[in-house]
Symmetry: C2
Subunit: 350 residues, 2 copies
């Protein structure tokens, strides 16, 4: 594209859209117009991006006229309906929903790991992975490039903002009810205190952890766990990679954490893994537990990289590494990865 391309942000008023506008204001500005699109009830609102107030326009076919790249941060069904409309009007769509992630003719892209995949997009759509996959995939991709990943066991510690604004409001409301009390020591006391309104979660999330995210799939798996498995395979280009994931919600506002047990093709050394992670783009190695250094959500929130700590070689398997990974689920986990994909597409040679 020879002139500065026009970018549309669809879902500009949502939780991820809000972070995206902040990111677009901070990153190198390669864009011509930035058009903000949302549902008709948000039309007319003004939002700040790149230091200017921009008026939100209602989602419609005409809203995509002249748009080069459209970033979609909307529910699956809205994306499924409107992404093809945007493509028909000439835009490349970068979609952050689950609507297209499993389609074989829609590439699933993490710019640090498989940027080349974005070039082949027969339907004009590029998908961005789920936030839990994105929390660990950059670090995992760097290790895979060197060692060759053989299988993966992971457990998540997922923030409530992964369930949108309603998730954050639910935790805050519940915390107000339990703070300053002696709750958490007797059967059912937390549940009685927070009442039946557990928001988007199946159980109270304050003073609790909830081993469930998403909807039920076959054989007891959750949709979130299936997404992590399938998307990790797709992004790494390992369609038969064994992946066993358990997804658990924790009372953290922002930043997903993941414990990773990764087995590789051959013996690995921690020293070499350290070198790889210390120099991998998009990764910060924060790992000196004797000095109190390891990543936690409280430190990682609001930052772009994937943070890696607690790096050890398995004591009983010289081919396996353990790591604890943190990523801001609203930044690299969603808004940032879509912005990076858009920049990648915008930077393609004409």
């Amino acid at each position: 594209m020879t002139v500065r391309p026009t970018l549309a942000v669809v879902g500009a008023t949502g939780a991820v859209g809000t972070v995206l506008l902040r990111l677009l204001s901070q990153r190198a500005d390669i864009w011509g117009d930035i058009r903000l699109i949302a549902s008709p009830r948000s039309a007319g609102r003004k939002l700040a991006v790149r230091g200017e107030e921009v008026e939100v326009v209602a989602l419609s076919e005409a809203a995509f006229d002249g748009v080069d790249i459209a970033l979609f941060d909307v529910p699956d069904e809205v994306a499924a309906q409107w992404a093809p409309v945007a493509v028909a009007r000439g835009a490349v769509v970068v979609d952050n929903s689950g609507a297209f992630r499993r389609e074989p003719d829609v590439p699933l892209v993490v710019p640090e790991v498989n940027p080349y995949a974005a070039r082949r997009r027969p339907r004009g759509i590029v998908a961005s992975p789920n936030c839990t996959t994105l929390s660990m995939i950059v670090a995992l991709g760097a290790l895979h490039a060197e060692f060759g990943l053989r299988d993966l066991v992971a457990s998540s510690y997922q923030a409530v903002s992964g369930a949108g604004r309603a998730g954050v409001e639910t935790l805050r409301r519940q915390l107000s009810l339990v703070a300053g009390t002696e709750l958490g020591t007797g059967p059912g006391d937390v549940r009685r205190a927070v009442g039946d309104d557990t928001g988007p979660f199946p159980e109270p999330v304050a003073l609790n952890v909830v081993p469930w995210a998403g909807t039920p799939c076959d054989d007891g798996w959750s949709s979130e766990e299936m997404k992590v498995r399938e998307e990790t395979r797709r992004v790494l280009g390992l369609p038969r990679l064994p992946v066993a994931v358990t997804c658990v919600r924790v009372p953290v506002v922002t930043v997903h954490s993941v414990t990773v047990h990764a087995r590789f093709e051959n013996e690995v050394t921690v020293d070499r893994a350290r070198e790889i992670l210390a120099t991998a783009p998009g990764v910060v190695l924060c790992d000196d537990p004797a000095a109190g250094e390891f990543p936690t959500p409280a430190d990682v929130v609001g930052t772009d990289p994937t943070w890696v700590g607690r790096l050890r070689r398995a004591l009983d398997d010289p081919t396996a590494l353990e790591l604890f990974v943190c990523g801001d689920n609203l930044r690299k986990g969603s808004a940032l990865n879509t912005a990076q994909i858009a920049e990648l597409v915008a930077g393609e040679p004409v």
Copy 2:
């Protein structure tokens, strides 16, 4: 023992001791005298057990005279010093500290898994495992007895009461500071709000998860992780079992949760695993996620069993099972297991 044996509780005023007195009041009463022992500064206090007020006596050699079984819930160094004293005075010691867990001539016992091990106690001491090991070992032992465990990957979600009263007070204080705020969305905002006093934890624990418990060991491992590995091997009688554990603290008051990826000698079926867990003593199977059924700390707190949910067979390995396990770290995780060991010893044929 032909007459009702005399029991001593050493550390009666501590967090675990308090739960132990409640348990002794609820369980079948097989005891003659129950003597309460604590540090000199607690001597003279009266505590309720079996519906009676009992005066606490100061820890001394004479305090063990006439004691048949002594339960120790005290710091490692106190147990190391005083357990041999109690034995010399004729008591069998059941120790809940880490002082003797690794000693080859001190059996490490979980009554549902290896009760026979308590019979051979050349030093007169029986040790009870760490609370994180105990959160999962009963369920794991039942599956191992049928399928034969081949290796284990686990991640913990550990409650703050695992760090004693100071852990609980730290979480409560931090929650009072963060509740009702917009914290958890900006870099360092939680850390600034809770200040430098992080209590027994290396980082803020409210609105956070902390991938560290215990003290640093070799090669980046924590002492808590090494304990889980060594104790799981000892209790299951599998001295070379590959075990990879990551221990993480979460803002939950009571109940440790663990995600388990367990590989067995041969192919397993979920149906058979369900039968085993549904009938195993000390285990409750709570597993119908489509109906919202899985264990969480809020439901499990204050109960005795190990709760198991999210049971699935690994999608890529017919020999592996995934489970999510919850156990009350103050009950089965410490006080209950020691009470059970004491009952086991008391019930031995003369």
